[in-house]
């Protein structure tokens, strides 16, 4: 009886939360207004059969994935088998012991299939197809019909990977950070010193591929930033953190690569790369996702604590300019055209527009 009551209170508070967000636009300071446009359940949705393939946006909400558009029409709604790699044009969903993998388009129509001994995944554009060995001792790039482009193995377990158009940053268990080019050749290798335990637990690469960052070491843990000048990467920034994460951590570049956002114990650290200034934004729970809106100098962050999700928008000074919370899990955050946010919440997806005033 008590359990039922608790469940009812949870559902009620969730609905009230949604109502508040949907019906009341929230001013977020002088420049930004967060305007919720719609919320759709993805578990009950009947996917549309027809519709323009262009303008499809992938979403995830819990273990449901699929495609929507800016109006909130659902085109595909599937339950993830084990791992789903999804981009706006193609996706793969596979079980934990798959040997054959199938690439489908946003209508769920089969495009390609291939065999691999490992787990494949796309980069965020869907143009690069990579396969990580299941024991995390190697990575390769293949074509969509499974032909190898390059392959590279390591004695040390891969702990973290960031992929861009032409580069890949790998963090290894032994403390090496490697930058690979599009042929899989190592163009830069760095193993810092100064920590009791060498290890890389997070990596990031900026959209323009000129800045790379990693979280290195235990006792102390450090943020390291590398800049490319005249074609070569070199260490240009290093700062001890207050953290000692013993798991993969979130790290993201924002605002044209001038800022780095790094997960910390109490929220997110925002590093102004040019000045070296670090500001701290305090958030509840463990960070689940970070998305940066370049033209607005704000970041959208989702965190989670005790099955409650916290949605925060912060500026580059670390100040929270919008905050709301929900029951259940939330994320990941999709950022479209620099002002539209699609986020998976509690068995549904929500669109929020961030507009200037």
């Amino acid at each position: 009886m008590k359990k039922k009551k608790k469940k009812h209170i949870g559902i009620l508070s969730f609905i009230i939360g949604i109502v508040i967000i949907v019906f009341f636009a929230v001013p977020t300071g002088k420049e930004n207004v967060v305007k919720p446009l719609w919320y759709n359940s993805v578990t009950k949705a009947e996917p549309l059969k027809n519709g323009q393939a262009e303008g499809r946006i992938w979403y995830r909400s819990g273990n449901i994935y699929g495609y929507t558009d800016l109006e909130g029409n659902i085109y595909l709604s599937e339950k993830s088998s084990f791992f789903t790699s999804i981009t706006d044009s193609v996706y793969m969903d596979y079980s934990k012991v798959s040997e054959k993998f199938y690439i489908k388009n946003s209508d769920g129509i089969l495009l390609d299939g291939f065999k691999a001994t490992g787990y494949p995944f796309f980069d965020k554009t869907g143009k690069r197809l990579l396969v990580v060995k299941t024991d995390l001792s190697g990575i390769s790039e293949i074509t969509r019909n499974g032909q190898p482009k390059w392959k590279r193995d390591f004695i040390s377990t891969i702990t973290t990977v960031s992929v861009s158009k032409k580069l890949m940053v790998l963090g290894l268990l032994d403390g090496n950070m490697l930058i690979l080019d599009e042929k899989g050749e190592i163009i830069y290798q760095f193993k810092p010193g100064g920590s009791k335990i060498p290890i890389i637990v997070g990596t990031a690469i900026s959209d323009n591929e000129n800045t790379v960052a990693c979280i290195f070491g235990l006792e102390p843990q450090n943020i390291l930033i590398f800049k490319r000048e005249n074609g070569n990467f070199a260490l240009m920034f290093s700062k001890k953190t207050d953290t000692n994460f013993r798991r993969e951590t979130l790290l993201k570049f924002g605002w044209n690569g001038d800022f780095l956002l790094a997960e910390d114990y109490h929220g997110v650290d925002i590093v102004d790369i040019l000045s070296g200034k670090l500001v701290r934004t305090k958030l509840k729970g463990e960070i689940r996702d970070i998305s940066v809106l370049n033209n607005r100098m704000i970041a959208v962050i989702v965190s989670e604590l005790n099955n409650r999700s916290y949605f925060d928008i912060v500026n580059q000074y670390g100040a929270t300019i919008f905050h709301t919370e929900f029951n259940g899990s939330a994320g990941p955050i999709r950022e479209i055209k620099n002002h539209i946010i699609i986020i998976g919440i509690h068995g549904g997806i929500m669109r929020l527009d961030i507009e200037g005033v």
Partner: protein, 288 residues
């Protein structure tokens, strides 16, 4: 007397600091180091025995872990896993652990529970994949070389031996009308799991080829290192494709088949030292 005491203290310290224990109480090795995984070496050992408690192989510090639901930039085949740092720059990795079973903390003693055997990640059933990395030698070690020996009475099986001449592969017993030529020896061999009555194949530890009493080559699954972006058996340049013809068939060296009777010997050993030895004679006809 004083010298002896000091030596004994050092010996005790060395044994306690650098010795390793099995991570489970009920030891069932279901897969050995170096086995074929289709296109790469198995980089550890697998231990069965159901949902047993997993202990550290030695006192250590938790330096990395992954549990389902945590953020990850890549799909994780190791499932829920923990990495420990031990003395001597040794790192041990415990994989496929049961959900919510991993001990959270920074340091663990060898008698403290680390987790429970599970089936998470790329796994066909409950097992523990144990992998050991030596950062000093930059190698992945065969865990059996560090762990206490377990009883094993069964010698490995040599199932078939083939000769590869040009593109043609034939069983050595079927060789007829062959001219003097260069041939590669291929051997289908495996060790057997101790605790089951049916055939459960395990990779052997060493395969040696002798010709006329002289060693021509060997494959040893002792440790793996990286060479030009590929994993190779330590002390050799042999990558997976240089070692495996298929899952249980290994590529040995080439021999020159000369006119008359040719003799070669294959010795296969498991980790406990059990060995199987076979002589082979190949008759080569006169060149016309």
């Amino acid at each position: 007397m004083k010298k002896l005491t000091v030596s004994l203290v050092f010996l005790f310290l060395a044994v306690s600091l650098f010795s390793f224990d099995w991570p489970v109480k009920h030891i069932i090795v279901t897969s050995t180091f170096g086995e074929s995984r289709g296109d790469h070496f198995h980089t550890g050992i697998d231990l069965g025995g159901g949902a047993q408690t997993v202990y550290p192989i030695s006192d250590g510090e938790v330096i990395f872990e992954h549990t389902s639901g945590q953020y990850s930039s890549i799909p994780i085949g190791l499932g829920n896993f923990v990495v420990l740092q031990h003395k001597g720059n040794i790192r041990s990795i415990y994989c496929h652990l049961k959900d919510n079973s991993i001990k959270v903390g920074t340091s663990v003693l060898r008698n403290e529970k680390l987790g429970v055997i599970g089936d998470t990640g790329h796994s066909f059933g409950k097992h523990l994949h144990l992998s050991i990395i030596d950062l000093e030698t930059h190698s992945i070690l065969n865990p059996l070389s560090l762990l206490p020996q377990v009883p094993d009475s069964q010698p490995p099986i040599i199932k078939n031996v083939f000769l590869k001449i040009g593109d043609k592969i034939e069983k050595v017993s079927h060789i007829k009308n062959v001219k003097p030529s260069r041939a590669q020896i291929l051997v289908e061999t495996y060790d057997l799991r101790e605790d089951v009555s049916f055939i459960w194949k395990l990779a052997p530890y060493v395969i040696i080829l002798y010709e006329n009493g002289a060693e021509l080559g060997r494959i040893t699954f002792n440790s793996i290192t990286e060479h030009t972006g590929k994993l190779v058996l330590n002390g050799t340049d042999k990558s997976f494709n240089d070692v495996y013809k298929s899952d249980w068939t290994y590529k040995l060296n080439f021999i020159e088949l000369l006119e008359g009777e040719n003799h070669f010997l294959i010795v296969v050993k498991d980790f406990a030292g059990n060995e199987t030895m076979r002589d082979y004679f190949v008759k080569i006809g006169k060149v016309k």
